[in-house]
Symmetry: none
Subunit: 219 residues, 4 copies
């Protein structure tokens, strides 16, 4: 009873936090991190710019949270595939499609984490701008995802399905191929791509055809 008020407060606070995240996600995806200002987010929510600071420390941490959230979802879905008792090659096919689709559905997060994040992770921390938290996400969520691929590559090798024997090599090839398509389709959205699902399927198919064991073509 006594805590009813505190409870409601807490609920309201959490709900406002979620509203901020939703508004910010929408804007970030549509306009890009750099072109979204705190004021724009606040205006969209009809609250004051200052109020945002009651829920988040700064602009980057809103984005950071959204990144983590998104990558956790990816990671969970990847895990479901890894744990599936299907042949590894089938699982790799599903994982490949999932990866690309995920990127295309979350283009801002994908680019920031896998491209800008990658760049930042390799940049010494300059005086201005502390992106260490973005780096951290990259190091966890990103590598976790790759880890799933690696596991499946190991399985596939164990099953004799691949013509390569080094799982790292396979992982790096598959990942790079998937990442290339994803980032290309995101950044070059004016390019005359062929039909989207076909392209994704073909890409995954090409990569898997390229790595799997040659059918022992014999008499």
């Amino acid at each position: 009873m006594l805590d009813g008020i505190a409870d409601r407060r807490a609920r309201e606070k959490a709900s406002m936090r979620q509203e901020i995240l939703d508004a910010a996600r929408d804007l970030f995806v549509r306009e890009g991190y750099d072109h979204v200002s705190i004021r724009k987010i606040a205006a969209k929510l009809e609250i004051s710019p200052g109020s945002l600071y009651l829920h988040f420390d700064d602009k980057i941490s809103i984005f950071e949270y959204l990144c983590r959230e998104t990558f956790d979802r990816l990671s969970a879905r990847m895990k479901a595939i890894v744990d599936d008792p299907a042949p590894a090659l089938d699982r790799l096919r599903r994982a490949g499609r999932l990866y690309v689709e995920f990127g295309l559905e979350n283009p801002q997060h994908y680019m920031l984490t896998f491209v800008l994040g990658g760049r930042l992770a390799a940049t010494p921390n300059t005086a201005e701008g502390d992106f260490s938290r973005i780096k951290a996400i990259y190091m966890t969520a990103g590598f976790e995802c790759l880890g799933r691929l690696h596991t499946m590559a190991e399985h596939a090798i164990a099953e004799g399905a691949l013509r390569f024997h080094n799982p790292a090599e396979v992982t790096q090839i598959l990942w790079s191929g998937l990442h290339g398509l994803t980032s290309n389709m995101i950044t070059k959205c004016d390019f005359p791509w062929i039909e989207r699902t076909r392209l994704v399927d073909s890409m995954v198919d090409v990569l898997l055809e390229g790595v799997r064991s040659r059918p022992t073509a014999q008499p």
Copy 2:
């Protein structure tokens, strides 16, 4: 002799122009187009912001020049391969390696042109910031570059070497795969990549194995 002074002036001007381009490329790649200001470039060169305008009309045209330069260089090297009278699949293999090697040898040029530039070219033309000139470069120089791959894909299809029949599909797949490896190796230079030449060769091999006609495996 007589024009010694004018010559030296011209040389100095060209050299300053080059210094600007180098500084700008470095900053653009490290911090992204939006986070590089004219002042930062000027400060890096220890000249006044205004002086930059003696060499370039505006910020975007510095970027523009850098893009065009890269496209042109890559395109020229690609052309030599296209024109070679070897089987298309062989030429595609050489072109693939060339593409990745070019990127790894000119990481800043590559990232600026193929990652940052792509992003800008796709930026909707808001009131502020007119990227139409960047788009135009992509439409000409960029497509020319890809056009080389496309031509070879056509040749390969004509030769019956591929299991795909749409050259655009093949081009997009190969290019994305190559781009993925290139940009990954550049931006994630801390990643524990396997040995570099092997990785490049394997990637190209996987892509070509993936697209080529299945050997009619039978008795």
Copy 3:
């Protein structure tokens, strides 16, 4: 009581707004629109340039507001005279004196609106600087003001009091004469003018003598 805080805030905001308008008017009149920068206004008020944007959207809208305010005040006073049921010539005399007196009593408002504003309204809309809103004010508030004179000119013509038959012609002549005296007396305040009220009266008298019907001199 309850809203005391909000009230005081609102009052403070309005007062700052007024301070800005006063400072801006002063500077605009003394130095001309182009030579007054947002920074200068801010410096005069000892606030930061950015703070001005809390009260006005941009530079031109400060000017805009000042113009509209002046037109409205003059227009209201003119209206009282137009609506008076006296002979039109008498009303024109009073309106003439009013016009000049208004200008002399509000020299900054007058100069800003009738000299600077006129100039801006006539500035061709180059890429930079859109003065269409200023033009709009002239088209509405300005014409309303002149419209009052025009109405009285029509009345006077209807009463057979004038030797002209085109009310627009009379309006333009009277207005220009009044404006000439007003702006001259304001800007050339060091000039050895004759006694002020006599000069104003004489000017109005000359203009009206000049436009009225000739007394059908003789039998």
Copy 4:
């Protein structure tokens, strides 16, 4: 012979000076003093910005020279009218038309000298911007012109043609009327003025009708 070279040099210098003045006059009239930059003038002449400084000390002195030149022409034409042995009223009519036409043909010079100049003349010399030379022009050319009007007003009074007895009063009235029309027509060039020559003629006519002696209207 020996001085042939020096002569040609001098001639060339004078000619370049004239070319600068011509170009500058054209630009000033068309775009307004503030919107004409030294670089624009230089570009129009296809010379370097620096070269302008071989002929003129600074931007303002180019304008200054043009002002003086223009006003000398006005003054000379006024003098011709004053010295004419026609009745003073006729001469005033011609002078009035001349004044307005002069302003309309040299709008930039007119406005700068009679409006901005007037303002500056009354402004204490602020730190930045020394307009004392413009003031000087105003004090000489401007007052000289007025002096001509004054002389004719004296003549007219001596001839018994005016209903006023103070030449200063008449001068101030006429001048203000003429100035009002001139500056109005210049600054408000979008205003729906009636036909130009008719308006000028009517204005002058109204002013003269307004000041001249009443025809002794009697039997």
